[in-house]
Amino acid sequence: MTDRLDGATVEVIRNYLVSVGEQMRRTLVRAAFNPVIYEVLDFGISLYNADLELMAEAAGITSFLGANDHAIVKGVEYVGRENMRAGDVYLMNYPYWSGAHSYDAMLFAPVFRPGHEGPAAYLAVRAHWMDLGAKAPGYVLDSTDMHQEGLIFPSTKIVSQGELVRDIIELIRFNSRLPDLTIGDFHAQLAALRTGENRLAQVWEKFGGATVDQAVRQIIEHGERVARKAVAALPDGTWTAYDYCDDDGVTDDLIRMDVTVTVDGDQMTVEFDGQAVAGPVNLPIGSTESLAKAIYKELTTATEPSNAGHYRGLEIKAAPGSFFHALYPAATFTQWSAIVAFELIHKALAQVLDTLPASSGGDEPGFMALGRDPRTGADFVISNNEGIGWGATRDHDGANAQQHPSQSVVRNTPIEVLEHKSTVFHERLELIPDSGGAGRHRGGVGVLRQVRYLADGEVLSMKKKSKTRPWALHGGHEPEPSEMVLWPDTDRARRVGMYRATMRAGDRFVNRTAGGGGYGDPLRRDPSAVVADVLDGYVSAEAAARIYGVIVDETGAWRPTPARAGNHEG
């Protein structure tokens, strides 16, 4: 047993380990072929010690935090440590272990070091692959069991002692509709693993393996201390909340999701409850754990790179076989339900923590367009993640048209890029007046995108929160939910959530995203803020008078309505 290290040595080694993850991330992003990795940041990179505790990580997007933690335990258990050799790499996409849908392929590798019995560390790189032979191209919206969702690898050796296992690569090649991209991305992940092995070995050599192991123990202790201290500062108690996901893609029934959050001293317990459904919106437990960890991170250690200690004070529960702990063979392909569930913990805790925002629209309301460009004859697939209004808080208005918190760092796709790659034409992209939930602080406004098809094609609307409103706080108003309207201003006009439609040349859609929930009584909103909103067109003069009780003219002069005056007197 190595002696305890001082706080400077531990911090030095922590910086080196975080940098190993960062170097792996850069290698992956630079070498990746598909934009879902390098633009949408759909990946997660983790470093584990010999005991499978997270040492450092480089998350792509917010909700992939700790996404590999469950998977690595299952993978090592399945393979068996004693069967692992230096240079081996394993492939896992079995949803119930990997904590993701079948197209999120996790590669993991044991890392050996002289004098250490068995693997001294493990590295994992998870990234989204373009196709593994599911029942339909692109996203599968209506599968009812795992076997419709593509080729499955439990934890299959794909590199054996440094040599590619050709049979496995060929299996992928013959089962993928996009073999070059898929195998290209596999190589990018492999390059990231090799960078990680190489750099981790350098860290061991520099500081000594036993010293690094001891530093990691202290890093994890430190993480636990900091996070628990933050939880201890929260009030004790138990709070519950529920919300609805639109449907499972097979039936039209609303899906109710429940959460119970308990804070007891420095320990937090989050328990999810919901009925398993037929369609592909069930969540594997690893996915449920990731979304809970992201909210827990926000509440405890928002600016620090994660390690295992940060989550020791968090217990996540969901009954096996339920919506939040899907078991074989439940369908899990379209896990946008996790995005809707993401804000549930907020909704529970907002009853006692007045710093939490109202609902940020509840969803990531993007779209995908497919077709063939008649000028070139080439097929295209374009997609866009759309901003949504964020929830208002005690202290400020919600942000306008910003990516949902579950993927806060993802960017939308420029119009000029979309129109270059496809035959869609934008007629409007604007913020939507009066879309933010009214309140003392106003929810952010949503965005409207009106698109015309110049040639035949398809549109995929991707929404799981279009049937019920995002929630507000303390008397704030609930905004309209997101929606897509197909063929607007025609007798075929149709409002949809998650939906796939055929479009003819000249057809239009309007994608309208929700605003954020309001916070507090709109009659108590600062009248100068109402005036500014009217002059800027975030709020109409009509709504200002009716909801906020402020009559504003075009010069900015204002007077209160009787409702506001009465409110003040009260």
Partner: protein, 683 residues
């Protein structure tokens, strides 16, 4: 003999650095004056006045200014109005909808308000498609009405114009600008395609908005400075440093103010590239350490890494700049204890209150305070003795804030501050080199900026970098780099075509147009034809990829030549090439007007014998982890051929070089200090 002076002046946050090079004697002199934020031209004249009172001897004057940058950071620019397409007035505010990475887990994040409020943004009918075809004619009456709204009703004096797909066809943008200028001649109009012809509408809108935002401020400043310099006798044109290296005339800077905004760190990179070529160093990292940040740039074969997009405070701008990575830690960074772990930064004591030792009210120990405790800095020698330093206060702060909680001595705590600072810097250097599939040990390190010479040899030791170079006057090296600038301008246009011989032929008129613009700019700046160079480049990528690489295009090159070059560079960078014919994303023409520049003067070799130390003091030797006696040398006494064995300190007024017991230092023919290790590598 009458001196022939070349001057460069670099305005920083705290000081203005002026450097003078006398071409007749090869002498290099430096003067510092305080920055004067309220009247920036005064600080420039003060700094210049310390070097020469006869500006009529000055043959070249290059100036780098952060005025535009500060106007953006401090939100002190002009009130701007935006004209765009009808239905798209929120492009600036919708932006890319992403939360900055450092706020990734802040689920109540509120972005700063948009630079232009919604009421000052308006749209006009008229549309052009992705191929540059006009789908709807521009509604000129609507443009006039928009002008009246923004100028007469809202009283705005600076307008920005950005229309969809204008990179493919700028006609509508130009017509909008012409109408506005005719109706409102007193108003400044910025046009997106005058600055960049690259696609991505938000980035272009942000670029032109920033241009409009700083144009009045910068234009006034340049006009004032030109007048003051002319009064002081300057007869040659004033040149302003560009963000991507190179300089331009003051007249051009007034028309394209945005290209100046990131010129501060560019001087150092230009200087480093010059040294890399002169010293024939194939791989060099420039390592610029200031009070609050470390700026690093990779230079391969004398060419610094470049990017074509930058960001200021989260606002993107499509201008060419050097690929500089910044670590938020420097001499002023605060060290603190977080639940038992020692952290350095990200907070900085800044210029005010500054380190504890400055006695200006700082109570939190900084890296500079740690350097005093470790004996690296001489409290009597700050700014050549011109600044009072309270070393006891520095020590007391390290003791109470760090040593006691850590349970170690003040010396140990101070040494640990450097260890943590180094660990953060090591990570940054590894990350910028891993992207090129290189190892930092394959590079030499050029250390400059006030604290570069102190940190450089320590970092090299930590990483196993063989050679650290400390240039002449390291604290003013950015200004030195400006002396080495040519006139440069880059023109680009996004085209998006398959890479083929047919495309290359079809693109010839585009290149011709860009080259014509280049010739125009150079000729307007008075560059003789024999001093002009026009360099063609293509940004190439594989179909479906987002990242592109810049590939040189020589006369007579075929598509196959370009593809071969691209495949080779892709394989070197990312480890693989693809069976894909490639796609042309953007054409670029760089117009260079060569300016006469000083060579690096060789200095007379040292006489016989070894250099004499000027003093000796106890300092912390990182090789042994113990305090040892360091011989202290004055830089002025070191001459080519001299060798000094560590541990040792070299002092030169504004910076201090520290080498350890397993390092030695030699002086090269140009008077630069080369620090090398005596032992093996460590990392």
């Amino acid at each position: 003999m009458r001196p022939r002076i070349r001057l460069a002046v670099d305005i920083g946050g705290t000081f203005v650095d002026a450097i003078a090079y006398d071409e007749t004697t090869g002498e290099l002199r430096v003067h510092k004056a305080p920055t004067t934020p309220d009247a920036p031209a005064r600080g420039v004249l003060d700094a210049v006045g310390g070097l020469t009172d006869r500006l009529d001897d000055v043959e070249a004057f290059v100036h780098g200014t952060t005025l535009g940058l500060n106007a953006i950071l401090q939100r002190r620019g002009a009130a701007v109005g935006i004209i765009t397409n009808d239905g798209f007035r929120d492009l600036l505010e919708i932006a890319r909808a992403n939360v900055p990475a450092q706020h990734m887990y802040d689920f109540a994040y509120a972005p700063p308000p948009p630079l232009v409020p919604r009421r000052h943004r308006t749209g006009v009918p008229g549309r052009i498609d992705a191929q540059g075809q006009v789908l709807t004619e521009l509604d000129e009456d609507a443009v006039r009405a928009a002008g009246r709204l923004l100028v007469e009703r809202h009283g705005l004096r600076s307008l920005a114009v950005c229309l969809l797909h204008s990179y493919a066809n700028p006609d509508h943008e130009r017509r909008v600008a012409a109408i506005l200028r005719e109706a409102h001649p007193e108003v400044s109009v910025s046009v997106s395609t005058d600055i960049t012809r690259e696609y991505r509408e938000y980035e272009r809108t942000s670029t032109v908005t920033l241009d409009a935002y700083i144009r009045p401020v910068l234009s006034d400043y340049i006009t004032t400075l030109e007048a003051r310099l002319a009064e002081a006798g300057l007869t040659h044109p004033l040149h302003i440093m560009r963000s991507g290296g190179g300089a331009m005339t003051a007249e051009l800077a007034r028309r394209a103010p945005l290209t100046t905004v990131l010129s501060g760190p560019a001087g150092g990179v230009v200087g480093a590239s010059f040294l890399a070529r002169t010293l024939e160093l194939p791989r060099l990292i420039s390592f610029d350490v200031g009070g609050t940040s470390v700026d690093c740039c990779v230079i391969e074969n004398g060419e610094p890494g470049e990017v074509h997009e930058a960001a200021i405070d989260g606002f993107p701008l499509l201008i060419p700049i050097f690929d500089i990575r910044t670590v938020g830690a420097g001499g002023g960074s605060i060290a603190w204890i977080d639940e038992g772990l020692l952290k350095v930064g990200p907070h900085s004591a800044g210029a005010v209150p500054g380190p504890v030792a400055y006695g200006a009210g700082g109570t939190e120990p900084t890296v500079t305070d740690a350097a005093l405790v470790l004996g690296y800095l001489d409290p009597g020698a700050f700014l050549d003795g011109g600044m009072r330093i309270d070393a006891d206060a520095a020590r007391a702060a390290i003791e109470t804030e760090l040593a006691v909680p850590l349970g170690v001595t003040a010396e140990r705590a101070a040494a640990s501050v450097f260890q943590v600072l180094l660990a953060r810097t090591v990570g940054a250097l590894r990350e910028i080199t891993v992207e090129r599939a290189l190892d930092p040990r394959e590079f030499a390190l050029l250390a400059f900026g006030g604290a570069g010479p102190l940190l450089g040899p320590m970092l090299a030791r930590e990483m196993g970098i063989a050679t650290t170079i400390i240039p002449q006057v390291p604290a003013a090296f950015s200004a030195f780099g400006m002396l080495m600038s040519d006139l440069e301008y880059e023109f680009a246009t996004t085209v998006l075509r398959p890479l083929s011989d047919a495309s290359l032929a079809a693109l010839e008129p585009y290149f011709a147009e860009l080259e014509e613009r280049g010739e125009e700019v150079l000729s307007a700046q008075g560059v003789k034809p024999e001093d002009r160079a026009l360099v063609r480049r293509l940004d190439i990528r594989y179909h479906g990829q987002e990242h592109s690489l810049g590939i040189d295009l020589g006369p007579g090159d075929t598509a196959a030549d370009v593809l071969a070059r691209f495949n080779a560079q892709h394989a070197a960078r990312y480890g693989h090439a693809m069976p894909d014919g490639g796609q042309i994303l953007t054409l670029r023409v760089r117009a260079v007007g060569r300016l006469a520049k000083p060579g690096l003067p060789e200095l007379p070799p040292a006489g016989p014998g070894t250099p004499e130390p000027i003093s000796a003091r106890r300092a912390h030797d990182v090789t042994t982890g113990e305090f040892a006696t360091f011989q202290v040398y004055g830089r002025a006494t070191l001459a080519p051929g001299h060798e000094v064995r560590g541990p040792a300190i070299v002092e030169e007024g504004t910076s201090t070089t520290v080498i350890f017991s397993d390092q030695r230092l030699t002086v090269d023919a140009y008077g630069q200090l080369l620090v090398t290790g005596t032992g093996g590598t460590h990392d």
